[in-house]
């Protein structure tokens, strides 16, 4: 008899604080597995955001830094410039990365900084109580778009992967989702590839992961997965937007 699934060493034993069914947990596991499988756990430094993943330093089983809201890419840059041999990743939500951290995101990519960003797009500000994020869909109700997001007042959803893919220093930019086992496996491959791009020194890599926020979407976890599939994926198409030529 053998364990077919094993809890990755990349995670600590700490119970996750996320709401039931929140897919932040899946993404944590995938990132942790990737780091472990690449054998770089001991030279990895992770940078957590301010957002629901603010406690990620309690979960990832490596050295961790808690950054100010939106500034994880800058913090990661500081680390990587001091320790060029280390593996550095940021884990950021859509408020963190695509709102307050927009400049840091664009420029970490433009510098071709050799770090990996895991970007959790859940179309909402989870931690602060369900406000509109830049990625909130048109018509979506949030605590700050109580009548649904209207473009002429609150603007349009921002497609981060597409935007960052236009930047020269970006080496690998992809969008995945964690709503089905199949997509989860694809997400895992993407995350592995992103870290590989970093390790090979090819430039900046970013994996946008479509994720759920059952709590602030006001849906049960299974309903949230369905909403992700039916509403989010059409607005945020999955796929690679930029990849190193010749593969990694």
């Amino acid at each position: 008899m053998a364990v077919a699934t094993r809890r990755t060493q990349g995670l600590t034993d700490k119970q996750l604080h996320y709401c039931p069914g929140c897919t932040h947990g899946i993404i944590h596991r995938l990132v942790a597995e990737a780091i472990e499988e690449l054998g770089v756990l001991e030279k990895t430094v992770g940078v957590c955001p301010v957002g629901c993943a603010v406690f990620a330093y309690e979960y990832f089983n490596c050295d961790m830094i808690e950054a100010a809201h939106g500034r994880a890419p800058a913090v990661a840059t500081g680390v990587k410039r001091v320790l060029p041999e280390s593996v550095v990743f940021t884990y950021q939500g859509d408020g963190d990365l695509a709102a307050i951290g927009t400049a840091e995101t664009v420029h970490v990519a433009s510098r071709g900084e050799k770090i990996t960003t895991v970007f959790v797009n859940n179309a909402v500000y989870g931690m602060t109580g369900g406000q509109m994020a830049p990625t909130t869909l048109l018509g979506q109700k949030t605590t700050t778009t109580p009548f649904g997001r209207q473009a002429d007042v609150a603007g349009f959803p921002l497609r981060v992967a597409e935007l960052v893919a236009t930047i020269e220093g970006a080496a690998y930019i992809t969008r995945v989702a964690v709503n089905t086992p199949k997509n989860i496996l694809r997400a895992k491959k993407a995350i592995l590839k992103a870290f590989n791009v970093q390790i090979q020194g090819l430039g900046f890599s970013l994996v946008e992961v479509l994720s759920t926020c059952p709590t602030n979407w006001g849906l049960s976890p299974p309903e949230a997965l369905r909403w992700l599939k039916e509403k989010m994926i059409p607005a945020y198409p999955l796929g690679e937007f930029k990849a190193p030529e010749g593969g990694v």
Partner: protein
């Protein structure tokens, strides 16, 4: 044969495994309640399990362990495919 275990204390009763199991053999325990107040997932009909690991893959709280009788090097999750 495959065995599936749920870590009752980690489980938050989110039902993601329930909806994803192709064999529909997972449900939330009606009576049991863990110390965080959640009804944890349980297997209804373990015999039917195919070992597809979907439950493991989707679980946000690493509450699921799948054990296969034959083979299986205990490595990555990709084998699920």
């Amino acid at each position: 044969m495959t065995q599936v275990f749920f870590d009752t204390e980690r489980c938050k009763g989110c039902e993601l495994c329930v909806t994803v199991c192709p064999k529909k053999i997972i449900k939330l325990s009606a009576g049991e309640i863990n110390s965080f107040g959640f009804h944890p997932a349980v297997l209804t009909d373990g015999e039917k399990c195919t070992g597809c690991k979907f439950c493991f893959l989707i679980c946000p709280d690493t509450a699921v362990t799948v054990i296969k009788e034959e083979g299986g090097n205990g490595k990555s999750t990709d084998e699920g495919q």
